[in-house]
């Protein structure tokens, strides 16, 4: 899980063009939206693309997005749970 979390942090930085941010700056359990990284509605949609592109996971109901993308950890948990071996 830890390896996935580190990988995810790098991927999020890349996918969302968070240039001035390094993986160490992202707290695994802090909310991604709201304060913190200052992500917006387009970023939320980009995370959906990230899951599909890098992990082959399609989010059927966009409303699930709020739960899945709450934090890096919830993203990692979702991936671990749903990814085919």
């Amino acid at each position: 899980m830890e390896e996935l979390i580190e990988k995810l942090k790098k991927e999020v930085i890349e996918q969302l063009n968070l240039e001035d941010i390094s993986p160490e700056d992202i707290d695994t359990d802090s909310p991604l939206f709201g304060e913190g990284l200052g992500l917006d509605s387009i970023d939320a949609l980009e995370l959906i693309v990230l899951l599909e592109k890098n992990y082959g996971l399609k989010i059927e109901d966009p409303k699930d997005g709020k739960k899945i993308f709450h934090s890096i950890r919830t993203m990692a948990e979702y991936i671990t749970e749903h990814q085919k071996a």
Binding site: L16, N17, E19, D20, G38, I42, D43, E46, V49
Partner: protein, 214 residues
């Protein structure tokens, strides 16, 4: 009622000039990204949204940023600040990137953050957001920089009393070719602050001259 060009900005590969004075220069043979990012960083703006922008918007944004260090817009009602820009290739630079992302059906991952920039007026949006400009705005397309096109549009805005000040110019970028020429147009009766080259009459002839020499 006449207008004056009170400041002008020019960004070309690879230098930036403000009112005809070179303010920033980079070595030749670098990419646009290698040019614009250090330039952006050198201004210490603390505006991370910049990194999400496409190249065209980055170019327009930087031109506007420099412009608004020359002209004090706080003197104006932000509902009466106009932004009228033009270019030749619209958003083709980003269009190609979006097309690339959907070309191969087996690698089909259209990105919303790319798609949103496939409209040339988005850079006006970025400038408006940054400087809270809510007035008249328009994106015009012409084969080359067309001083008469811009003059007619902007002069009409002043005549119709739609704006009290207007940013106008040419912001063009495609692949590694780029050229930004931005002017601040104010009524001749406005007082101005900041360093200027001396106000010039707002006319197609002056615009052509500035475009040729900066």
């Amino acid at each position: 009622m006449e207008q004056l060009i009170n400041a002008n900005i020019r960004i070309t590969p690879f230098q930036v000039s403000v009112n005809g004075r070179t303010e920033y220069q980079a070595e030749n043979f670098i990419t646009f990204a290698e040019f614009i990012k250090p330039f952006f960083k050198s201004l210490n703006l603390g505006y991370p949204k910049f990194y999400k922008m496409d190249s065209l918007s980055k170019l327009g944004f930087m031109a506007a940023e420099l412009m608004l260090r020359q002209i004090d817009l706080t003197r104006y009602d932000n509902n009466r600040v106009g932004v009228v820009l033009s270019n030749s290739s619209s958003s083709l630079d980003t269009d190609l990137a979006h097309q690339q992302s959907i070309q191969d059906r087996s690698q089909y991952f259209p990105s919303p953050s790319v798609f949103v920039y496939t409209l040339p007026n988005i850079m006006i949006g970025e400038i408006s957001i940054r400087h809270r400009l809510k007035g008249e705005n328009a994106m015009l397309i012409s084969e080359r920089f067309d001083s008469r096109l811009l003059f007619t549009y902007v002069n009409n805005l002043f005549r119709e009393k739609k704006v009290d000040v207007c940013l106008t110019g040419w912001v063009e970028l495609l692949n590694e070719q780029f050229d930004a020429f931005l002017m601040a147009v104010e009524p001749s009766t406005a007082t101005f602050s900041g360093e200027t080259s001396g106000a010039l009459p707002f006319s197609p002839e002056t615009m052509d001259e500035l475009y040729k020499t900066t």
